[in-house]
Symmetry: C2
Subunit: 142 residues, 2 copies
DNA sequence: AATTTTAATGCAAATTTTTTGCATTAAAAG
DNA sequence: CTTTTAATGCAAAAAATTTGCATTAAAATT
């Protein structure tokens, strides 16, 4: 749960209307300590207010397009969504458990990437460098 | 195109029968300089010999399970497949162009990851660390 | 305040990618 | 030559996401 983010102004700062649904989706993502799938988000929002699955997908697209939320690819089939790095959240990588499918955020200090040389020499445009660690989480390993 | 890999013995060393189809799939993957989707692989193999799409998926599963091929997640919907690192191919990361969907292999020197601290402290099992760079490739940027 | 325009949402259906179940063929072992 | 196992094919299902079009809600304009 994030005490620093004001989701309403996060939306407004990006020129997005802060509709009920957008706020709900963003809150579910932001208040969770690990990334969630679109399906997870849908189920969670749906518990408290009526929303359509497609609306969730569309809101996620908008949030990702505006850089508020990050779309994170797993070693599985679905994308997961988490708050994009901002002044309160530094960039970090993720762990994906191939047994239970849960993603966890990794401590930024435990893993470092140096892409400076690439950024200097790459002939295209680089938008993001995603690091994902795959394996079996401590709960599933037993 | 890889001149060093003997695909037949790669299969046999893993205790896998070197069927016509398995060889075709592995050759398509190995002779390509960048990872391909299951669909790409299917279409390519199909040009020269009759094969079913499902067979391609099953062969890919077997090859991944035996560590011959790596399943690489993209910023898009489908998985891509490339030769797993071995004595002739050192581990490297990939670039994914979100416009045309092509993946490219990045020079291992241009990007370095240090996961030592994570490996020491992580309470689960770590199988692989995948680094993917997303952006727009030089062809699509024009 | 009524009307027009734009933005957000819903619903049904389609698409894409991958998986499953079961039948068939081919290869290996006995 | 027969039995067993491995590999493949085909049809259908499943999962995740996307599309098209209708509807409602909000914002802007008259």
């Amino acid at each position: 749960m994030c005490h620093h983010c004001d989701y309403k102004s996060l939306l407004e700062q990006s020129g997005l209307g802060a509709s009920e649904n957008r706020l709900s989706v963003l809150e579910v993502i932001g208040n969770n300590s690990y990334p969630l799938s679109a399906g997870d988000i849908f189920k969670t929002v749906e518990r408290h207010s009526a929303i359509n699955r497609v609306t969730v997908y569309r809101i996620l697209d908008v949030l990702v397009d505006h850089g508020i939320v990050d779309r994170i690819s797993t070693g599985g089939r679905a994308f997961y969504y988490g708050l994009a790095p901002n002044s309160h959240h530094q960039p970090h990588s993720h762990f994906y458990c191939k047994h239970c499918g849960q993603m966890d955020c990794l401590n930024p200090e435990s893993l470092s990437v140096d892409a400076n040389l690439l950024k200097k020499t790459f002939p295209g445009r680089i938008d993001k460098v995603e690091v994902r660690v795959d394996g079996i989480c401590k709960n599933c390993i037993k």
